[in-house]
């Protein structure tokens, strides 16, 4: 491959609760990575220090950094820890408690001690104004400006830093919210962050719209100072180029857009991981994949169809870890914005092993996290964890992890499993450890099912792409359970999210409520709205500095059967031809059948929202291809590893990724890397492709065939 004349780098930075990952991608697609401890008291510090050292270590001049893309947990943590701004809400008279009523339902049954999340705006700052818009957008009571001025005065008097404005039915007629905007912009000092529900989320359902607007306001001042400060710090290190931020839906947005709509950032890290996985899978020719991201405390899954991750707008921030979060809502703060549909359960390497009162073995959701850590870390953890069981099975290097940076105490781990698990199960060490492993896998299988079978998708039609520190260890076991035949482990699986930042498209998404039946509406009304939204979305991208010619637009509609209460978002690809009514209806019938295995073609289809996503595809660089010449044969190290009663304990070759170039090995094999370990059990084969992905394939059919 020919090198470009000018050297430049693009940088992805992902802050997690424990680690901050930095990835540098050069003009030829070469990757440099750096993992440093996060600094939760001031997250920006780790970034600027990390950037400085990675530039120095590699002799890179700051001026060679072309762009920086950032994913952050700061927004999420601000909500979880209640550390957002002092926020007020202005709402319709008679309805200030909508925020606190929520949807009333609680996420736990049989629990009389349940405490619901505290509202982000206390009742005393939920201010009512006299006005009322009707369901059809008609003005039932005119806006009483004196009540708005009274609210504004109260805001000034109480030292409020952020204001959310959400009136009933403002999605259909924003005139009163606009009237409030006129008054507030004159009365409030400029440092007070104000946002309006018809701008943040012009969609029906008052609680979700109010909650989303409130979260946005609550985060506004915090994210403004964080992002501005971070930009300044990067500039101090000499980096002057464009700065972008990842959205929860997987696209990138400009710094200014992020500051105005911080609610779009809350799941940016996990989104980046899915984007990277989808990108790598697409390059490898796999368009239908399920992503599996397992770290220390959780397992996250998402589904990618036709190369694109699926999305949802049913999200709650701070809802905890719950596979049923979509079923049982109320545990967190609703944000009804587009998110990549990630399912999460509390099972990771640090998950505690315990027995309940009836004697059943449980793994997680309690976790040793990184402090005190699993027993084998020898940093104070005493409760046996999944990682200790994995070590006891022989899957992990008994001496160290992360290329030697983390030493392990295997003896302690084995002792913990023997004392805490073997004695109770009355089983020898490897069998007991495998029991722990299988229970954890069963939990994780539930996460994979929730993005596939729960939505009418058969996991056997998908490949599994595994990353995170622990994903590649359990991936084949999960694939085996679900009858999946292929597993892919990308290069640098431990820092994949940061990589995703550099391959995500720049996007701008707009939505508008639209009510009508596909067999009754005037199609030109729909086309006009799509055109209008597309124009605005493209303008926003141009404002960010992109060329009009590089933008593309996707139209989607939220549709349902008339009378049905839940919509499906259906893409309306029409190869540039104008959209037709029948086309919308038939796309919906198909998607409904696919998802729920039933449809009602004789019934009218109702439009709820129209959506437009404008995007500019990121400058795509092909990574350097690996030489496909077979590596010089060398004698691999051998370790005993246990693969179940039928296979027993086996002498297992330990290899590196580069050892697999040009050859295919049959399991058992363990691939050890800097930031991850890949387990290839018997009955599976492993190889490396030209893009340096590890491919693991099943030789024979597993269980669960039907």
């Amino acid at each position: 491959m020919q090198s470009s004349s000018k050297r430049y780098y693009r940088v992805g930075i992902d802050i997690g609760g424990t680690f901050t990952d930095i990835v540098l991608l050069d003009q030829d697609g070469n990757i440099l990575t750096k993992k440093i401890s996060s600094t939760p008291d001031d997250y920006g510090r780790a970034i600027s220090q990390g950037m400085k050292s990675v530039l120095e270590e590699n002799g890179i001049d700051p001026s060679e950094v072309e762009e920086v893309v950032h994913a952050t947990t700061v927004a999420t943590n601000a909500v979880l820890e209640g550390k957002g701004a002092k926020t007020a809400l202005i709402t319709t008279e008679g309805f200030r408690d909508i925020l606190e009523f929520r949807r009333v339902r609680v996420p736990e049954l049989y629990n009389l001690d349940y405490v619901k999340p505290k509202p982000l705006v206390p009742r005393q700052l939920r201010l009512e104004v006299k006005e009322r818009i009707g369901a059809k957008g008609q003005i039932r009571t005119a806006l009483d400006e004196s009540s708005v001025r009274a609210a504004a005065q109260r805001i000034i008097d109480t030292d409020v830093q952020a204001v959310a404005v959400c009136l009933l039915h403002s999605y259909t007629n924003p005139v009163h919210e606009q009237g409030i905007k006129d008054i507030l912009s004159k009365m409030l000092p400029p440092h007070i962050f104000v946002c309006y529900s018809h701008e943040v989320l012009p969609e029906i359902r008052e609680y979700e719209r109010t909650s989303t607007t409130v979260v946005n306001a609550f985060l506004g001042p915090v994210m403004n100072s964080y992002l501005t400060n971070l930009k300044q710090r990067l500039e101090e290190t000499g980096i002057q180029k464009s700065f972008h931020v990842m959205q929860s839906a997987g696209g990138r947005m400009s710094l200014d857009a992020a500051i105005a709509k911080p609610a779009y950032l809350v799941e940016s890290g996990p989104a980046a991981g899915v984007i990277a996985a989808a990108h790598i899978a697409r390059k490898a020719g796999m368009l239908e994949v399920i992503t599996l991201d397992i770290g220390g405390t959780t397992a996250k899954t998402a589904i990618v169809e036709n190369g694109e991750p699926t999305r949802t707008s049913e999200y709650e921030i701070g809802a905890g870890i719950n596979i049923s979060s979509k079923l049982v809502k109320g545990a967190g703060y609703a944000i009804k914005l587009p998110f990549i549909d990630v399912s999460e359960i509390g099972a990771g390497g640090g998950s505690h092993i315990r027995f309940d009162k009836g004697g059943l073995l449980k793994v997680g959701p309690e976790s040793a996290a990184s402090v005190p850590g699993p027993v084998c870390y020898d940093t104070g953890g005493e409760t046996a964890t999944l990682t200790d069981a994995i070590l006891a099975l022989g899957y992990l290097n008994p001496g160290h992890l992360v290329g030697g940076a983390l030493t392990l105490n295997a003896e302690k781990a084995v002792k913990a499993i023997e004392e805490q698990v073997c004695t109770i199960l009355d089983k020898p060490l490897p069998e007991a450890a495998l029991g722990v492993f299988n229970v954890a896998v069963a939990n994780m299988v539930r996460a994979v099912k929730s993005v596939s079978t729960y939505r009418g998708r058969d996991p056997r039609d998908y490949a599994l792409i595994a990353f995170g520190g622990n994903g590649p260890i359990v991936a084949t076991a999960i694939a085996h359970e679900l009858g999946m035949k292929q597993v892919l482990v990308p290069p640098n699986p431990g820092v994949l999210s940061s990589h995703g930042l550099l391959v995500a498209d720049n996007t701008h998404e707009l939505v508008k409520s639209f009510s009508g039946l596909t067999n009754e509406i005037e199609i030109n009304d729909v086309r006009r709205i799509f055109d209008d939204l597309a124009g605005k979305a493209i303008d926003a991208l141009i404002e960010e500095g992109f060329e009009r010619g590089k933008t593309s637009v996707q139209n989607l509609a939220d549709l349902r059967y008339a009378g049905q209460a839940f919509e499906l978002t259906v893409p309306l690809d029409n190869d540039g031809e104008p959209i037709e009514c029948e086309q919308m209806a038939s796309a919906f019938h198909d998607e409904h059948f696919r998802t729920y295995s039933h449809k009602a073609e004789h019934e009218p289809v109702e439009i709820v929202n129209l959506r437009v996503i404008a995007k500019v595809a990121v400058n795509d660089i092909e990574p350097p291809l690996t030489e496909t010449k077979a590596a010089a044969p060398k004698k691999p190290k051998i370790r005993q590893a246990y693969f179940g009663a039928s296979s027993g304990s086996q002498e297992t070759p330990i290899v590196g990724r580069s050892d697999l170039v040009g050859i295919e090995m049959t399991g058992p094999v363990i691939v050890e890397e800097y930031d991850s370990t890949i387990v290839v059990p018997p009955e599976w084969t492993v190889s490396v492709d030209a893009a340096n992905n590890v491919l693991i394939s099943r030789k024979s059919d597993g269980p669960h065939e039907n």
Binding site: L109, K326, L327, G359, A442, Y454, H592, H704
Partner: protein, 594 residues
């Protein structure tokens, strides 16, 4: 074959996933607000005998009702269940249902031609005909007035749909689109879940799966018996009541003896009022369901949702009583009796577990239905249960704006309701100076107003807790009463707590429901003054209320400690705070009690 506890955990997890999948398919593809937003439906998975082995995280009241229904179905159709069959029923008498709106749709699952299990769904249908729209009119006097009764029938016979049943149902509801749509969602869930259960059983093998299901029941039973054993033995009595029906209500008593005997719980309803000629009778399966629910809430702990745990709980009730009525007692609005059974049982448990059980909650969902025909002669119905507030407990204040733990239903979005129905919601908020005072106060009452935009409509209302308020505990005071008001122009009309006829409304009329506030826990005069200041700032109580009820004197936002001490001593002696809070409540809502 030896039981491997690891395998048992893995199978249990897989069963839970199937029950959740059933629930998710219904939620996302259902039509009515009752299913989609209130989530008034449930799902379950059963073994080959029809015993529950897993349940979706849905509606607690429903979950304990499956065992009776499944037992009736499997004995009725013994030897006559074939692949492709799907059953339907709703009848409280003979089929084991609870009230007619609840449609049970159950699909048997076969492996190698033998019956190995079932998947089941229960959804509250928005209307099943009968005397009152919504099927919950309290003024039915016989079940024959409550709508379409469906005995246990095959809705699909060996894979062939029984069109006659579909057409009969469609013709017997005021809401055919919603009902047919929700039934389709139930059927889709059964088909998806049925395949998943079949695959699970096949992967483990029939013999092994059956063995493990026996063990799962035993395991759940072991768990619950271990918990019950930790409670002191003895019999604990509690009584609670319903205000009664209509203009001149007669108190209806729910009396319970709760006995802890070793690792067994016995619940006896002897002394409870006789069944009534109004639709609030709770058939015995319902009474069983409430028993299981209350025990589980009281003892806590995570116990698998399978039938084995129910072996440790036995309920009895006199035949012909409100909680074990005989045909043809109507039961459409039986929910209110369920809630009161729950309150009575918790009141009994509070004597055993004073640190865990809270004072009484709001008393259960209030169920207004405003129904009529719009300008195009199309039927409309604005409904949706209203909740709620929790009682204060030893640990904390009662919360407001939260679902009753026995029902756990959601509210319907106001904007959706106004888009679809000719009503306008005039307010939806907490009521100032409501709820029972206490060291930990009860949750504040809610109020909601509805203005009719159509020419005329009928209001059907089910509520309670006016005469007899939600109880307080440990010197906490009872909650505040519930009221139903119609504003017709400047004229105000007060309705009974549970009207025995539909109430006419005309265009522009406003109906306001004020729900009961929850009971307080502990002596109000011991409430921390700082908490009272916060309540005042949040406009949950007025400064005058803080003074007259809690004896806390606030001057310019600051607590006057000296004056507070004096005031509290005075209140302690006179005891007038025990009635003062009611006066403040009535001042706030602007009506005079009759």
């Amino acid at each position: 074959m030896k039981i491997d506890l690891v395998t048992l955990e893995i199978i249990q997890n897989a069963l839970g996933a199937i029950a959740d999948e059933l629930a998710l398919v219904i939620m996302r593809s259902a039509y009515s607000n009752i299913v989609r937003d209130s989530m008034d439906y449930s799902t379950a998975v059963f073994d080959h005998k029809g015993q529950t082995i897993a349940q979706g995280l849905t509606t607690p009241v429903h979950l304990g009702s499956f065992p009776d229904a499944m037992q009736k179905m499997t004995s009725l159709y013994e030897g006559n269940i074939f692949p492709g069959d799907i059953f339907i029923f709703n009848d409280p008498y003979g089929s084991g249902g609870m009230h007619l709106p609840d449609f049970y749709i159950i699909k048997p699952v076969f492996v190698n031609e033998t019956l190995e299990g079932f998947v089941g769904t229960l959804a509250h249908q928005s209307d099943v005909g009968g005397i009152a729209p919504g099927g919950m009119g309290v003024y039915a006097s016989e079940i024959y007035q409550e709508g379409l009764r469906i005995p246990t029938l095959k809705l699909f016979d060996a894979g062939v749909p029984n069109d006659a049943i579909f057409r009969l149902i469609e013709k017997n509801t005021r809401e055919p689109v919603n009902v047919m749509g929700d039934m389709r969602a139930q059927l889709a869930a059964c088909n998806n879940g049925g395949q998943a259960l079949q695959a699970l059983i096949e992967s483990h093998g029939v013999k092994k799966f059956r063995l493990y299901m026996e063990e799962l029941h035993d395991y759940a039973e072991r768990l619950i018996r271990a918990e019950i054993s930790e409670l002191p033995d003895g019999t604990f009595y509690f009584e609670d009541c319903l205000d009664g029906m209509g203009e001149d209500p007669e108190t209806i008593w729910l009396k319970v003896n709760l006995t802890i005997a070793g690792d067994q719980v016995l619940i006896d309803w002897a002394g409870t009022s006789d069944q009534v000629n109004y639709a609030i009778n709770a058939t015995f399966p319902t009474t069983n369901a409430m028993s299981y629910l209350a025990v589980r809430c009281a003892i806590g702990g995570s116990i698998p949702n399978c039938e084995g745990y129910m072996r440790a709980i036995t309920a009895t009730a006199p035949v012909g009583s409100l909680v074990n009525p005989v045909e043809p007692a109507p039961c459409g609005a039986r929910g209110i009796t369920c809630f009161r059974m729950f309150d009575a049982l918790l009141g009994a448990f509070a004597q055993i577990l004073p640190d865990r059980i809270p004072a009484a909650n709001e008393g259960g969902s209030s169920a207004p239905h405003i129904a009529g025909r719009d300008h195009n002669n199309k039927p409309f119905m604005a409904s949706g249960g209203l909740m709620g507030a929790w009682g204060g407990s030893m640990a904390r204040d009662g919360q407001e704006g939260i679902s009753n733990p026995a029902a756990n239903l959601g509210n319907t979005p106001i904007e959706l309701m106004e888009t679809r129905q000719p009503v306008e919601i005039t307010k939806y908020s907490f009521v100032q100076n409501s709820g029972g005072p206490g060291r930990h106060r009860g949750g504040a009452a809610l109020q909601r107003g509805y203005r009719l935009l159509a020419d005329e409509a009928k209001l059907i209302m089910r509520s309670d807790r006016r005469k007899v308020k939600p109880y307080g505990l440990s010197d906490g005071l009872p909650g505040t009463p519930s009221w139903n008001i119609i504003n017709h122009g400047s004229e105000q009309k007060l309705l009974p707590v549970c009207p025995t006829a539909s109430v006419p409304m005309v265009k522009g009329d406003e109906f306001i429901h004020i729900q009961a506030g929850a009971g307080g826990f502990g002596d109000p005069l011991e409430r921390e003054p700082e908490k009272i200041v916060v309540d005042v700032l949040n406009e949950l109580i007025t400064p005058a209320y803080a003074n007259d009820v809690y004896g806390v004197v606030i001057n310019e936002g600051e607590i006057d400690l000296g004056a507070t001490e004096i005031k509290r001593r005075e209140l302690k002696q006179t005891g007038i705070y025990e009635t003062a809070y009611m006066a403040h409540f009535y001042d706030e809502i602007g009506i005079k009690p009759i």
